[in-house]
Chain length 374, copies 5
């Protein structure tokens, strides 16, 4: 129960500037983490990586290595000044920077004065609860800036690919880096859905053998997770579609082939989610039919036992009546008052009659099919 | 109960001229409030605000400060003449003025002879009941006219931004003012939805611990509120889309970026509402499964107690029968009539048999899983 | 019950020529009313109105007053010849005339050789039953012809506006007259929906206090009415949309603004119907939860009374057994046969035990929450 | 029951060449009827009709009367050679001929080398079962070829119109003939739907008075019929739409007006089907609420009778206990053992108490509203 | 039960490279089968077929017979080198080769540098379980390459058609071969659906006579199979549509006619699946109404037996009371204590009264309609 009531509170997750705030105002949340910037700089042959601390250093690095590709990997919203300087430096619109800070944006792709702005959702699972973080990406001619509000993320494999020059990473431009980051976010849905599939299999086993409301609640939770995932991936799909249909000059045609692949992955994920949603729906059916099956069983046992014993109880009550054989005052004999009681085999005959009633009823129930299972 | 029956009457809210009225006729409702006009006039450097009383003053102010931006903030429909003069003065079509007065229009954007006409919905919550007011906006080259039928509204923060020159307000044109007013209306949905989310969390806790019909009714009410909100925001989204796709010359391209942001907010709100609707659907499931769970519990207790005692009651009835051991007339001994009653340990044996039956049944129920919870 | 079974028969309302009839054949229904023609002729300054009797008179009136606008208001299909002559005179296609006579056409707008052909639905309510009549309109350069199969209709306010020169009617052309007629039909949905809203409010009160199947049937009927209305208005909306997007030369741009208004009214009506449909859906929920709530109450009372008395009945049966304290033959004393019966306080102790059982059970039920309401 | 299980087998109706067959192979079903060809030849003035036997005769007739319009009305697939010769003679693609023979094609319209190929569905009802036959139509410049697999069809009225020169038939070209055939197929849905409407009215009466599963099954069957009809008419509508939007040179513009009419009929039929589907849905609701209403009634009777008698039975059991008034051994008097039994009015008092209990319970039930109907 | 829990695990079927893998990396599954290549080479006159072992042989065959059409039929993913060489040799993009190996791609059609890439799903049924294999097809100017991961497939009839020169196969180009392979995959859905139809007929019979949860589970399984099939065929349909609308130069117009036919087959299959889905939905209804019907029957029997015997049991209990006729101490006579017991015909009268009660109740139940079936 704890767990379930805990999960529910996720429904209030949107962070939004209070109504009345001027549009484009950057409102730093009170629990923002301290700023941390890492820069990656590479070309086909060389690579370096360092921690930097401000917009000035970013600018100088870009000027010093104009032919390299650069990734500025920014974490934490603690420094409002830095974000404003960054916006000024890279021509980022105030509304875009507001989107960066209000971390419940839907995935999207926008073009604005010399750069592209992407929002991706990084969904991971911690102790059975879905964590849905935002990754904001700015893609310029030879740089990528990513901004997120938490320190740990799922992008480490991309950093490793830069470090070790694996795959096409160092050979390709900054558009390929942006693609790799967004593709990483999409790839991460696969293990989450796999675990969801496992959980549904477990739940099905549970519901078939022992349908409890606890299991039902877990099915409902899984369904809600799936709805959340579907909505997120649906937007990712739209974003990929926008990129494919757009004429963004920042993205080369050779890279678009890769975005097409990500698009296909989104479709495949949506397919999988649809089939899982169908499974949850049929699990609900299984639960309800299990429960009503159990109720029917209970009713049947009650009915059989009641209907067998009710007539018997009547008969034994009948012969427990005290109708008097003689008038106590006059001593007159009443031969019609319960003569059965005074027959030498009365008891045995009555027991036999009751046995016949029981047998008759059992045959009746058997024919009705009430004694078989199901 | 009071509260719930109270809320229901909101379903009849549409105000519409009676059928047969000529199109474009302005029918002032009988409970219309008295007219109140406030004018705001500003440019980048200065600002003044005053109460005015008629179309003549509006016209003279526009002529006196041709380079300022003006906002005529009109409240109350009490003066039909004024509305007609206003329509004549600003080339407002009779049908538009009819829409202003019949305050249940959907959000929309229309162009007509030198001005744009917008309808926004200002939704607020008073004592748990949603209030859905109309804000009619006319946007000309250097003026904005807003008309509403109530005195208190949610636009105070925009007035404050004009007064204190916060944000872009005074630097930007009247299109930005119109945007700010409509954005204010949309922003106001966030706290309402937040409260809805809180209410759903409470309801979930209630339904899990103690499912009452009262809670169910509140879930249904919340669902209806969500449906109403969704429809309203859906139309706001359409309006924003119309503005973005249109070629209204009254709206500068730099302002359109802001409308794009409002459009995104609408999408985000719709997203949130969808997820809340899913929550209400699953709360209904929780309620129904709680109720049928309770019924099952009740049935099980009845069955267990009945089936345990029914055979016992039969047995004790059996030995309450009065079969006679002797023929009262002849004194003949009937050895087959209930010999158990005349055995020295008969009572104890019967008690023992009944105990065995009880134990047997408990074991049977335990194996059937009827003694465990759930 | 009468009323409900009566309403159902409306489901067979379509009138269609029998299959095999040649396309375009005009089949006059056997119960057609006698032909009645009224003509209205007006311009900005003058107006006259008279009853006429045939196509010849129509033609002569058009020739005599070529600068007037004319409305030929035809009621009743009793004269097939007349309809054929009319078709010949105004270039009406045979299929259009077939549509006029088969009065279950969907609202639509068609252009054909020099005139426009509109179908409108005039929905009214008589004693709680929806009446759905067809109004066929032909709009030419300076004339409007309307044809309907009943004498009484909802168009009287339009006739009054012509007679008294109210509104724009006499100043505007025949397109405005056609608009006014169709707008009248749409406006008439408002009071019908208002009554529907009132009925739903009543039903909600009924269902909350005393859920009967009769009320449920009325909810279902209301739902069907709403579905019918929605379909009709949906087609009206499509028709308005066709008119707005078309380039019909018969309709001036200034009149199109009015059609735009009608279009908005259709949208608003559809909105309202959607919200009423939601209300009916939640009323069904209310009904079902009320009924199952009542069943639960009944079950609980049964369970509580049964489980309280079943053990008591067993105990009193137990001490009604006739185990003999002495062997009737030998007189041997059986001290183990029901010694309780021979204890001086046996009765009181047994009564006390039963009281304890009752108290114990009441406490148990109270803790289970079965004694509280809901 | 027979009937219902009989109807189900219709779900396997598709005839398809076994997988692995080369595309375009004509597989004649084993139960194909013998070939029968009738030819109709007509122009505005004359008409003749004869039975013919092969492609050669078809060709010669076309050559002999080049200015006439010809209809070759082919029934039965018994002669594979004939079909192949026909395909060669009229440039019919092998895949089209495959469609002709595999008689479960959806309605469609295709153009191919000098002719149009239409598929229509002729739906009729025989003893309550829907028969869904295929009519394949080839339309050339001056000929129409129709092919079907059964001898009896619904096209007789069209043949009569040719024979007696009724309507436009003989004046118009072969496109009008093709239209007439397809229109005939669509017109034939009206009486079927009318019968469906009658059946739904009957079922509603049945379900309100006496809800049986048999009626429910018939509702479900009707629903399935409606689904089948809807799918068929939906495709017919698509076909009509394709014809209207296409630029098929074989169809004159004057004929297109008629196709537009058929299109409207399809829409109207779909409308009607939707409303019938709504009716079936609400009939299901009626059934379920009737059944649960009946169960509630049964439960209430059980509860009332049980709860009235259970306490009484306890009381009479109580005074059936055998607590002894004297110690049989010592003769000691036990004044506390059931003194009620030895009071002179004990019996009457107990009977009175029981009467009071009954009255009290009846009042309680009456107040709870359990004694009223509904 | 075994079988059902076995089938469930199919829900986890997607094979996907682990997140973090570089895009386009070919990850061979650990249980990949050994590589097997068969080549078919043919033209209108001649044909040969041989096993080959590597890319070099493929290349040499293409060079040796430049005017033949070639089909390289590759099975098993055991040799990663081979796949990479193949990709290099035929300009296959890395992402395409990744799709080949990750065998859960949706059907699709893509163009890339001189060849088309198709994915088809080959669905077959083994022991009641659906097997869903992937067939990857590369179509070049004069060659077709197919790759699959299993040895046995459903393509044997196509191989036979090549071997025996049946149909158009040898006369037509490689595009027709690619079509034949994809058409084979689609044709194979027919027998599967036919079996599904048979199974649904069986299930309906079962559910009407004896509704068990086992049958319900099989209905749910069938529904899930149908959902899976629908999704697969839906994608096949999209693929066919893409091919038809595209301007792929590799596919001749004469072949497109055949693809159009496949497209129609997809539509027809989807139609069939929709109707089967409706059947499963109504089977669920049948199940639930059967179950609740059974429960009602059980309840009715319980009620009838209980209500008949409860009053009787009360009466016999009544006359089992021991109210004393005399005061044991004083010997005083109590004439009011149960005088019925001392009436000469008391017993017979009581039996008669009980008989009347039984008859009265039976009449009551009969009138209520509880003794009739249904």
């Amino acid at each position: 129960m704890k767990k379930s009531s805990h999960r529910v509170h996720r429904s209030k997750k949107i962070r939004h500037s209070p109504p009345g705030t001027a549009p484009g105002a950057i409102v730093i949340p009170s629990d923002a983490l301290e700023l941390k910037i890492k820069s990656f700089s590479y070309n086909q042959n060389e690579y370096f990586e360092k921690e930097i601390s401000g917009v000035a250093e970013i600018r100088s690095q870009l000027d010093t290595y104009p032919l390299n590709f650069h990734w500025f990997d920014i974490k934490g919203f603690g420094d409002k000044n830095f974000l404003e300087q960054l916006a000024d430096c890279f021509n980022i619109h105030r509304l875009q920077m507001e989107d960066v800070v209000n971390v419940y944006q839907r995935p999207k792709a926008e073009e604005f004065k010399g750069h592209l702005f992407f929002v991706s959702r990084m969904v991971s699972e911690k102790q059975g609860v879905l964590i849905n973080d935002q990754l904001s990406i700015f893609l310029g001619s030879n740089y990528v800036i990513t901004i997120q509000d938490k320190y740990d993320d799922i992008l480490e494999p991309v950093r490793e690919r830069i470090r070790h020059g694996k795959g096409n990473m160092r050979k390709s431009g900054s558009d390929y880096l942006a693609y790799s980051l967004m593709d990483m976010a999409i790839d991460n849905f696969y293990p989450i859905l796999e675990r969801t599939g496992d959980r549904l299999d477990e739940l099905q086993d549970e519901l078939l053998t022992n349908p409890t409301r606890e299991s039902l609640n877990r099915v409902l939770e899984t369904k809600r997770d799936l709805i959340l995932l579907r909505r997120t991936i649906w937007s990712e799909r739209d974003k990929m579609n926008d990129i494919l249909r757009s004429s963004f000059t920042e993205i080369a045609d050779t890279t678009k082939v890769y975005f097409r692949d990500s698009y296909d992955h989104c479709i495949q994920l949506l397919d999988l989610i649809e089939s899982y949603k169908e499974v949850t729906a049929s699990l609900m059916d299984v639960y309800h039919s299990s429960v009503s099956f159990k109720l029917n069983q209970v009713m049947k046992v009650l009915t059989i036992i009641s209907t067998i014993f009710i007539p018997l109880t009547f008969i034994v009550g009948l012969y427990g009546m005290n109708f008097s054989r003689v008038d106590p005052e006059t001593g007159k004999f009443f031969p019609l008052n319960m003569p059965e009681l005074y027959s030498p085999h009365g008891y045995i005959i009555v027991c036999g009659v009751m046995l016949l009633i029981v047998i008759g009823q059992i045959i009746f129930f058997y024919k009705k099919g009430w004694l078989t299972k199901g």
